[in-house]
């Protein structure tokens, strides 16, 4: 299993930050996911080996965090918050709109592999509700129209 040099550098550096090896698991999983797109069996096995854990232990941790996934996702992961503040300001409609627009449901991925959609809990952007997060970028004060523009933008980026 081969990761990028940047990953390896971060990994080695990280090991020095914690008293026990296993503590680097969570950040390492995130880096690996960013690089590979999802946490494949191969990634799990590799990291378990490096950190003296069983594959099962790594899976336990992955399944605990909703940000980590063992299934391939679209290039852009659209996470629409439907928690209380966003809900009060129209998140449900927004989510439904995304479903229609992308033609997929919760945790679905478009056939072209460009988008995945997810309904998530509070992302800490309540002051600008309703909010959504695409990969690591936030989009706030959304309306269906505004959402369309956001999605089109990504589509353009992704098909360039």
């Amino acid at each position: 299993m081969k990761f990028s040099d940047q990953f390896e550098q971060r990994f080695t550096e990280m090991l020095t930050h914690y008293p026990t090896k296993r503590s680097v698991l969570v950040p390492t999983l995130l880096f690996a996911q960013d690089e590979i797109g999802f946490l494949s069996d191969e990634v799990i096995h590799e990291l378990a080996g490096r950190l003296d854990l069983t594959d099962l232990e790594v899976r336990n941790v992955i399944s605990y965090y909703s940000m980590l996934t063992t299934k391939p996702r679209g290039k852009f992961n659209v996470q629409v918050c439907t928690n209380i503040a966003c809900m009060l300001r129209g998140a449900d409609e927004l989510f439904e709109h995304c479903e229609k627009k992308l033609g997929i449901g919760h945790k679905g991925t478009t056939p072209d592999g460009l988008f995945s959609l997810e309904e998530v809990e509070c992302i800490g952007a309540c002051s600008w509700a309703p909010a959504a997060q695409v990969n690591y970028d936030f989009h706030e004060n959304l309306t269906p129209d505004k959402m369309d523009r956001v999605l089109d933008e990504y589509k353009k980026k992704g098909t360039q």
């Binding site: 069983t54 594959d55 099962l56 232990e57 336990n60 399944s63 605990y64």
Partner: protein, 787 residues
């Protein structure tokens, strides 16, 4: 450790600093309910059943994670506490299937008990239950997910206790589930610890599930008949067509040296007892074929033929082979029968460790053998050779958990990277066969170090190891059968120089040590006294043949040469185990006592169907020398105990049985009838007599009569009869033993059993076979995948 004073429900309670509140309460007789808390496992704080009120703390606190502190004032029985616990139960029941009428745990379920105590039978929840079909994870382990209350005991015992880490928790919060390591199944040691520790019926066993209810069984505490560690196991038995069937094995009451530990063999491999190939009728060879016969016919024939051979050719024309899985009483009686009735010292057994050499090395030394309990408490341990995880599961458990819970230092020297290296403070991999050299090196022979070196082990690391070990106190040195003869002397020499050090010699079968202690040797009497120096045995038995007898290989040669005219094999299958020419004994009259038609039994002239150790009473001595009671649990009609059969044969030979078994001596006792013991009431006089070993042995078939003699004549066995009968182990010491004698090291043939095999017994256990098959299937699959 400093004592801390607290008040619980107005009661003053004192406990050592660092004690958990839940334990302090338990110590004072106040029960705090708990699901996730389990002694000796890491703290979880998951179930909130143990909530109590602690003064000056704002909310209710979990007693299982609170360490007591001076002056703490606790109430466990207020309305608030009661209400809190009740709502916990109510929430747990929210998605619980309530299939108690068919659940294996019904009647022994902690959730049932809690519901009963807190009365949370009514639920505010009306949501549909989340159902999931039961899953089979391995031949042994089944999982019924909806019943799981997420206490995580199973996950922790498998990881922390067993060091297997096969179970995990997936997802979080209400959607958490227990998951096996291979997606939909388990690859693990199949010990069943997770099943027995589960407070509810979520994890169940292939052996017991849906078979019976706890209250339909009789529960008998006895000793495991597989490896040489001597776990106490409680067998659940139930009447069936053919006698008493064993349906369950566990040790949930945590009595005995093993606490709640059992490996797969002790917990599930009792099923050989009811295998359909079990012999239930004596067989006599007629016209070349083994034909069913009556017991009378069989004993008469054996008695006649044995007497003939002895009369015409003398005792040296008869050979006797004993077993490592029969009781001490059986073995003692067998060698006495050989020596006194048959007049021969031709007696041997399957040797798997060199106990005579150990006895010789320890002779004249103070007591220095380690007990199984010592292995859990010693501050330091050295393991040379062997692979306890596979061959001595309890020993491995003791070592592992001693390291985990008491921070003991474990030093491992092995030719393989065995699993226990994971607990080791130091692991030295030496070339195969180098164990003896290591012993010599430890004892001071520096030239022996050359044989220990390889790319992983250097001269300096060997010297450093020896220095470290010399600096330890109360070290327990555990060694496998790789160490024999003079090498044992070296180990003992090394140990003698370390203050408080003890040694532990590993043999392979349930009563290997007992067979050795009871004198199943051609040159040694019980207690390792040489036959040439029979002393008190001469007096007691009225003469012991003085010439050293034949070892088993010598018997084979003698039989081939036509000199050994009769052979008596009790619970031994040398033809199957050693691959001996099956026709070697074709000129001898051969009698076999066994459970099955083994490779040895098929060539016999008479086969007598024997009861196994779960079907009789007596004692076992584990490899450490811990003496324990064996109690009759199961029963298969048509079999007899080896003890009874030996006595019957002596009787058929016209021998005065009182000279063989000390029974009925001065039996003029009042047997209790006039002492007013009513039915159901313990006869205290009888109990006292029994505890003192004074009760009259009324029959020649009573193994206790021989135990009396063993306790009288075998050094080290004069332990408390009362403790023994109460089910406690009693450590026997080799300190006062006879001188032992150097044996030919080649006579030791290790059993080579692993976690899932158990000699001839294992071949008749369906559970073990299904696990072996399953594991083969898996490794075949992974092999294919790897290509």
């Amino acid at each position: 450790m400093a004592e801390v004073n607290i008040t619980v429900d107005g009661k003053k309670v004192t406990a050592p600093a660092g004690t958990l509140l839940i334990e302090a309460c338990k110590g004072a007789g106040i029960e705090v309910p708990s699901f996730c808390y389990y002694p000796n496992l890491s703290l979880q704080g998951a179930c909130r059943m143990c909530l109590v009120k602690i003064e000056k703390m704002p909310k209710l606190q979990t007693a299982c994670t609170t360490v007591i502190s001076e002056g703490m004032s606790v109430t466990t029985d207020t309305e608030e506490v009661h209400q809190a616990r009740k709502s916990m139960v109510e929430m747990l029941l929210g998605n619980h299937p309530l299939d108690c009428p068919v659940c294996d745990a019904g009647g022994e379920c902690e959730l049932q008990d809690m519901t009963f105590s807190y009365g949370a039978a009514e639920s505010k929840y009306i949501d549909a239950k989340n159902h999931k079909e039961e899953q089979q994870w391995s031949p042994v382990v089944y999982f019924d997910r909806p019943r799981c209350i997420l206490c995580y005991r199973c996950v922790r015992v498998c990881g922390e206790g067993m060091d297997v880490w096969a179970l995990g928790v997936q997802n979080r919060g209400v959607s958490s589930i227990i998951a096996p390591n291979q997606d939909d199944h388990l690859e693990c040691e199949e010990c069943g610890m997770c099943i027995d520790i589960c407070p509810v019926g979520a994890l169940t066993s292939g052996a017991y599930r849906y078979k019976t209810r706890p209250w339909e069984m009789k529960h008998v505490g006895t000793t495991c008949t597989h490896c040489a560690d001597g776990c106490k196991t409680t067998l659940g038995v139930r009447r069936c067509d053919t006698g008493m069937e064993i349906v369950r094995g566990d040790n949930r009451d945590k009595s005995g040296i093993n606490g709640d530990f059992l490996c797969i063999k002790g917990r599930y491999a009792f099923d050989f007892a009811h295998h359909e190939e079990r012999l239930t009728q004596p067989l006599i060879r007629k016209d070349g074929r083994l034909t069913p016969a009556t017991w009378e016919e069989a004993f008469e024939l054996i008695g006649k033929r044995f007497a003939e051979v002895r009369g015409k050719h003398g005792g040296q024309a008869i050979g006797v082979v004993g077993s490592t899985r029969t009781t001490n009483e059986d073995n003692y009686l067998l060698q006495k029968f050989a020596r006194v009735v048959l007049g021969t010292n031709n007696i041997d057994h399957h040797r798997t460790a060199d106990f005579p050499a150990l006895a010789a090395a320890l002779s004249g030394k103070p007591e220095m053998t380690a007990s199984m309990r010592d292995v859990f408490h010693a501050p330091a341990m050295l393991l040379i050779g062997n692979n306890p995880t596979e061959q001595h599961p309890l020993l491995a458990w003791q070592m592992r958990n001693n390291v985990r819970l008491h921070r003991a230092r474990l030093y491992v020297v092995n030719s393989q990277p065995i699993k226990l290296r994971r607990q080791a403070a130091s692991f030295s991999q030496i070339p195969a066969g180098g164990e003896g050299k290591l012993a010599a090196f430890l004892a001071g022979d520096d030239s022996a170090v050359d044989a220990l070196l390889n790319e992983k082990t250097t001269r300096d690391s060997c010297i450093a190891l020896r220095e470290k070990l010399r600096g330890e106190a109360n070290l327990v040195i555990i060694f496998g059968s790789e160490i024999r003869g003079n090498n044992i002397t070296s180990v003992v020499k090394f140990a003698s120089a370390i203050p408080g050090a003890k040694v532990l010699c590993l043999a392979d079968y349930a009563n290997s040590r007992g067979a050795a202690d009871m004198g199943l040797y051609p040159d040694l009497l019980p207690g390792y006294h040489r036959v040439t120096d029979a002393g008190k045995f001469h007096e007691e038995w009225g003469g012991v043949p003085e010439a050293r007898g034949l070892t088993f290989p010598e018997m084979v040669e003698s039989a081939k040469a036509g000199a050994l005219r009769a052979c008596y094999l009790v619970g031994a299958n040398p033809i199957g185990r050693f691959g001996i020419d099956p026709y070697a004994f074709s000129h001898s009259f051969v009698v076999v006592q066994d459970m099955f038609l083994t490779e040895t039994a098929v060539m016999a002239d008479v086969v007598l169907p024997a009861a196994n150790a779960y079907e009789k009473s007596g004692t076992f001595t584990n490899t450490c020398g811990d003496l324990q009671l064996v109690k009759k649990a199961g029963e298969v009609t048509g079999t007899k105990s080896d003890f009874e059969m030996i006595v019957r044969i002596a009787d058929a030979m016209g021998f005065d049985l009182r000279k063989l078994v000390p029974f009925g001596r001065g039996a003029h006792f009042d047997m209790g009838q006039s002492r007013g013991a009513q039915s159901g009431e313990a006869d205290r006089h009888a109990v006292w007599l029994q505890a003192q070993g004074l009760e009259p042995q009324m029959s020649p078939f009573d193994p206790m009569a021989i135990l009396d003699e063993i306790q009288r004549l075998v050094p080290g066995y004069d332990v408390s009869r009362m403790n023994l009968l109460a089910g406690n182990e009693q450590h026997t010491t080799l300190a006062g033993s006879g001188t032992g004698a150097l044996q030919n090291p080649e006579l030791i043939v290790p059993a080579q059993d692993d976690l899932f095999s158990s000699g001839t017994l294992g071949r008749y256990s369906r559970t073990l076979n299904s696990v072996i098959e399953n594991h083969h299937k898996e490794s075949a699959e992974t092999d294919v995948a790897a290509d």
